[in-house]
């Protein structure tokens, strides 16, 4: 008997979640002077500025949007 019915299939998100949990378990403390690789511009945990129009057209041409720094409302997308 299902006690709680979730609005989406958990399985879809399960594999990435397992990867994250394993990753978190292997965390090591990194000191400021050791962050030169993490501070590389290409290591930024966000979209590139140049992807702006790509994200825009994808949110218009696809039914899904969000969770990538892109907009989740506003602007038409009429065409």
């Amino acid at each position: 008997m299902k006690i709680l019915k979730l609005p989406f299939k958990v399985g879809h998100f399960l594999i990435p979640l397992i990867v994250v949990i394993i990753s978190l378990n292997s965390c090591t403390t990194v000191k400021e002077y050791q962050k030169n690789k993490l501070n590389d511009a290409e290591m930024s945990l966000s979209n590139r500025k140049i992807e702006k129009t790509e994200l825009n057209f994808q949110s218009y041409r696809e039914g899904a949007s969000g969770a990538n720094g892109g907009k989740t409302g506003g602007g038409c997308g009429c065409n």
Binding site: P7, F8, K9, H12, F13, P16, V19, V20, S23, L24, S26, C27, T28, T29, V30, E32, Q34, K35, K37, L38, D40, E42, M43, S44, L45, R48, K49, I50, E51, K52, T53, E54, N56, F57, Q58, Y60, R61, E62, G63, A64, S65, G66, A67, N68, T72, G73, G74, G75, C76, C78, N79
Partner: protein
Amino acid sequence: MKKLFLSVILMYAGILSAFSQANPNSDSAYTKRKLTFEEANIVSSYYNQNGNNSAVTGGIGTEKLSDISNSIDLKFSLYDKRGRKHSFLGEIGVDHYTSASSDKIDPATISSASSADTRVYPSVGWTMENEQKATTLGAGLSYSHEFDYQSFGANVSFAKKTKNGMGEFSAKLQAFLDQVSLIYPVELRTTTGGGRGEEHNYPTTPRNSVSGGLGWSQIINKQFQISLEAEMVYQQGYLGLPFHRVYFKDQSVHVENLPSTRLKIPLGIRANYFISDKFILRTWYRYYHDDWGINSNALQVETVVKLTPFFSVTPFYRFYQQSAVKYFSPYMMHTAADAYYTSNYDLSKFNSNFFGAGFRIAPPNGVFKVQHLNSLEVRYGRYKKTTGMNSNIISLNFKFR
């Protein structure tokens, strides 16, 4: 002699101490509180698409469209008396598009109201970073205007790092208050009108969106970091578009009709790995669910190949898959029994592939030896849907520092 030697030593020490005191006091106290230019970006793109499932003509007909977009953003910062860093961001963007399908809203005219349009979207933002408390506060306002659509947006954000600086929690709230002009297909208009000169006569209806997002970013080790993002978006109002036709089985034509609320839940993970001085792997995955029936998965992988310390090439690939909304049916497949109906193929079941490459030049003495032109980036991508729609996009980014 001994006195002279001591005097010289004292004088030297005096000069040193004078400089060592004067510099931080004058520079840090003065320059840090002065508004400083940090960065500017000019981003230009050209996009074109083609396909044969336009929603304006009920799921058949050309989707040909081209769009030129240009935006410029500026970032300034200053430190206040308490040592907090305030950053001020300003941006303005202008898009201009031409659309063959929009020209079919009113085919009787030489060129209908939405066959070409310009969207202008300015925005401003502010963040305050407190290093002592390891927190960042932010707020922003945005506006977007086009012929048949107007949008006001506002957002607030908060972020806090963990004590060891390895993790960061973030939260964001956003709201968009939009107005849609009700421009119906010419044969479904109950009143006369429709020319450009009468644009002020179109009635408008609201579409509001509120979203809340939580994020967590974590440094795993010296070369690997990840972030998680969970959002919940609630939309209310007129969520269809008034010029999307739907042809029923009985050959009657209607305006797209969709529910007046929509709940969206996107969950995203980003993971970046610094493989070596030559290679960086960037990945992103999103699972998405909404109450209209769309379940989707998106995965993007890109590899930064640093050919020299100042020149890199980045091939990328993105796979996307979605199920259809409950209210979708193709041309002439809906019946009068359907309460909600659309023939918009952007809401149908499909997969898509997006692939391409970019390159970035960032020489130490500036691009083209222009000192403040920090980097130049070019990126091309080709997008293909299983419905037959395809598009190309090329973008250019000039970064000034």
